[in-house]
């Protein structure tokens, strides 16, 4: 393989393999770009827009932006972090998020992003939507109040579990997660605790029952170190060391 092509991220050269997007290359190279709906094991989705960067003067979601040689990408700027703060505020305003009583507190990506991006206020009037929970399943609770519509569970259930338990309905502010059963209840699906869809929710929608607060708040993942430091550990390993499908495919 010849010398890999590179682009500039905040002035640093980032190598990339053909087919990689900007965020994939950046994370592989050990550079963090804040993100929520992007997950290294799934195809980029491009909906949360937290990973928005500036490329040659124009903004774009870095998870879906194909890496190209010579791009000049800005990410760690006050302008972009201010945008990300606002987007996090919007996600908080749209749902019902009460961190102190949430089982996901400390392990929640939305909360961790809020801390890391230094979101210090609500910013907007909250919507307080009415979103009933689904407690029908014997082992799993669905608390839609916290859903950020990243579709990771939709993708995991369909692409990994092969079950297609989740889908989306409605549109605009009424867009919402639905469950694939005639009753609309999780109990009437074949969802199981071992499903990939159980692991991927970045917030506290999909929870295992009777396992609450096993780990005390304060000692959880993002309580100890910020998400910007830890996200890189989830990312594919650098070029040429296997694991990353895109890289392997190009070799």
């Amino acid at each position: 393989m010849t010398e890999p092509a590179t682009f500039l991220l905040d002035g640093v050269e980032i190598p990339f393999a053909p087919g990689q997007t900007v965020i994939q290359a950046a994370l592989s190279a050990g550079r963090y770009i804040p993100h929520l709906c992007y997950h290294p094991e799934f195809r980029p989705h491009g909906s949360c827009k937290l990973c928005t960067v500036k490329v040659n003067g124009r903004t774009a979601a870095s998870c879906t932006l194909p890496a190209q040689a010579g791009l000049e990408v800005e990410s760690e700027t006050e302008e972009l972090n201010s945008l990300r703060r606002t987007l996090v505020q919007m996600l908080f305003a749209e749902g019902n998020h009460f961190c102190p009583s949430c089982e996901k507190s400390g392990n929640c990506v939305l909360q961790a992003l809020g801390y890391d991006l230094k979101v210090m206020s609500a910013g907007f009037r909250h919507f307080f939507p009415d979103r009933p929970v689904d407690a029908s399943h014997p082992d799993i609770l669905l608390d839609f109040n916290r859903c950020v519509l990243c579709e990771l569970c939709v993708r995991a259930s369909s692409e990994v579990d092969g079950k297609r338990v989740f889908a989306l309905s409605g549109r605009g502010a009424d867009k919402h997660l639905i469950v694939n059963s005639a009753s609309g209840l999780l109990a009437d699906t074949d969802m199981a605790l071992t499903d990939k869809a159980m692991e991927v929710c970045p917030v506290g929608v999909i929870l295992k029952k009777r396992a609450g607060f096993a780990q005390p708040i304060g000692a959880r993942r993002y309580d100890t170190r910020p998400i910007s430091a830890q996200a890189l550990e989830d990312a594919p390993r650098p070029l040429g060391q296997g694991h990353c499908e895109a890289c392997e495919a190009s070799e």
């Binding site: 989306l168 309905s169 009424d174």
Partner: protein
């Protein structure tokens, strides 16, 4: 339900037909019952939730009964200006039904829907998907009587459904007099390369608003790898205030189909689709008849054919990649780009999507040549443009002008010399005031998809902006955070100001939301959602300022106002029952 089985059979049980199947079920039963949902899901091999997700996305589909007669009033600002809201109230009163609810006997429901494209003859409504224009008290009463008498829609007097074309000025497109087949004869005598070269030379740019060079789009599609290519005509004319495609498809359908055939010839496509917005359901039979005539005349069916797909009430499907998703029977969510439709369009195959008017123009260019076309318009904007003129003017309708015409000229022609503002290209366009009426309709000055909505001297531009804000919040697909949440927040701010609770911080919030939407929204809907508010804030700020409760500071809500209910209940209105400003620290 054997009916349903034959319907599914007719659509070949293909998942791409999901939306079309649901539209037919909806038309028959006025809703899609859980049993029907399950049967469709089973037949197409789709999860039930996928079927429900599609029903939930499109405004004209419903998973619960909305009455045997579902009446939807068009809620464009032009309809409101013509008294649509009062007429809706009148109909509700006559039918003894509350807006947004089904009558107790399950007979009827009445609600609003986004602009139905009858702005030149509004107010308009749809009853079970069929358009009725020119509403008056008298016509509304007739409609009420017909519903109460439970007359089947087919038996309603035809004059209720008569839609006028109102062509006020015809030029190249609306004035052409070529015989059926003439264009394709001359096109087939030329090579695809020559046709492509002619389209490029003509400088034709997309008429849907974005203005992308048509020749480049066709060339890119022709060059894209793949055995099967598609031509898609975007007749999802959803921009409030626009109705020129309705008239083109009524009067010049063959010219549009010619244009699609020209494109197919140039790029090597064998299948075409016309995506017709659900609001133009009344055009479906005439258009299918036109297609049948063309097949009989040998103009279609020999290597290229066209199929019509209906939309079901989703403005965002006017965005080309959302339109393709919808054609594939899915929720109309805009795709991530790149890749673009020219390489990865319908079924991930190379696809050209163009506006109705673009195809009509392309047909004439292919026949008359690029030079003749370039002779009209300006150097950067060749040819003519159809304007949908509506609002406060004496002669609303369709005006076809060569590019470069001034706003003032259009206003003079439609008898609206006293206009205070014109919304160009609908809410996603720009609002200009009288000081700008010498500006020109052209890509280099005022680009437009066609809407030209006039606001007379007495109109309140804040209410216009508020109507458009409602529209964007209603039509956001909800895919990306900034648009899903931002358009709802913008609506909240405008409602707050309208309710007399606004403060300067709310004007600042509008600007903040605009910035976020511009920087990060997924598609044009989000990028432009704040335009009407910002434009009017810039040009007509007093209409906002006079509504603000406080000029400097404003608490999150009105404490004293919140006590009003308690005062009513206790019958008190003395000083002690009020909170003064000084006590609200």
């Amino acid at each position: 339900m054997t009916d349903l089985a034959s319907l599914l059979e007719r659509h070949g049980c293909r998942p791409e037909q999901l939306l079309q199947i649901l539209i037919e079920i909806q038309a028959r039963a006025q809703w899609v019952s859980p049993e029907a949902q399950q049967q469709v899901a089973d037949a197409l091999g789709l999860p039930l939730a996928r079927v429900q997700g599609v029903i939930g996305f499109y405004a004209f589909l419903s998973d619960r009964p909305w009455g045997r007669y579902r009446v939807l009033f068009s809620d464009n600002v032009t309809d409101r200006m013509l008294g649509s809201r009062e007429l809706l109230d009148r109909l509700c009163a006559r039918l003894w039904v509350e807006r947004g609810h089904v009558s107790g006997d399950g007979l009827v429901s009445v609600d609003f829907t986004s602009c139905t494209g009858l702005c030149d003859q509004g107010p308009g409504l749809l009853v079970n998907g069929h358009a009725i224009p020119r509403l008056t008290c008298e016509r509304v009463d007739r409609i009420a009587d017909l519903i109460l008498a439970q007359q089947p829609l087919e038996a309603w007097p035809a004059d209720l459904f008569d839609i006028e074309d109102n062509v006020r000025r015809a030029d190249l497109l609306l004035g052409h007099d070529l015989a059926l087949g003439e264009i394709l004869r001359s096109v087939r005598a030329a090579t695809p390369e020559a046709i492509l070269a002619e389209i490029k030379k003509s400088g034709l740019r997309g008429r849907g608003g974005a203005g992308f060079a048509t020749g480049l789009k066709w060339e890119a599609c022709r060059a894209a790898p793949g055995a099967q290519r598609y031509v898609v005509c975007n007749a999802d004319e959803g921009e409030p205030g626009t109705f020129k495609d309705r008239v083109l498809l009524t009067r010049q359908a063959d010219l549009v189909f010619d244009g699609m055939s020209v494109c197919a010839w140039a790029i090597g496509a064998s299948q075409g689709f016309l995506y017709l917005r659900g609001e133009y359901r009344h055009l479906l039979e005439p258009l299918n008849a036109a297609l049948a005539r063309r097949r009989a005349a040998g103009l279609l069916g020999r290597g290229f054919d066209i199929e019509i797909h209906l939309g079901a009430g989703a403005y965002v499907c006017g965005e080309e990649s959302a339109l393709i998703e919808s054609l594939e029977g899915k929720r109309g969510v805009p795709r991530n780009r790149p890749p673009y439709p020219v390489t990865h369009g319908y079924l991930q195959r190379p696809t050209v999507v163009n506006n109705v008017e673009t195809f009509a123009a392309a047909a004439l260019i292919a026949h008359h040549g690029a030079d003749a076309y370039r002779a009209l318009g300006t150097a950067k904007s060749a040819g003519t443009k159809l304007l949908s003129v509506a609002g406060d003017c004496a002669r609303p309708g369709i005006y076809e002008y060569p590019f470069g015409v001034t706003v003032r000229q259009v206003l003079a022609d439609c008898h609206a010399e006293d206009a205070q503002a014109v919304q160009i290209s609908g809410p996603s366009g720009v609002c200009i005031d009288a000081s700008e009426f010498d500006r020109r309709i052209a890509f280099e000055d005022l680009p437009t998809a066609g809407a030209f909505t006039v606001f007379g001297p007495g109109r309140d531009l804040f209410e216009m902006a508020r109507a458009y804000t409602d529209f964007f919040a209603h039509e956001s697909c909800g895919f990306c955070t900034p648009c899903r949440v931002g358009t709802a927040m913008l609506k909240g701010v405008m409602d707050k100001i309208a309710g007399g609770h606004g403060a300067p911080c709310d004007l600042a919030e509008i600007e903040k939301l605009d910035k976020v939407l511009h920087q990060s929204a997924h598609c044009g809907l989000g990028h432009t959602a704040c335009n009407p508010t910002l434009d009017t804030l810039k040009r007509f700020k007093p209409t906002y300022v006079r509504r603000l409760k406080h000029q400097d500071f404003e608490p999150a809500f009105d404490l004293d106002g919140a006590l009003e209910r308690a005062r009513q209940m206790t019958g008190r209105d003395d000083v002690g029952a009020h909170l003064g400003e000084e006590t609200v620290e």
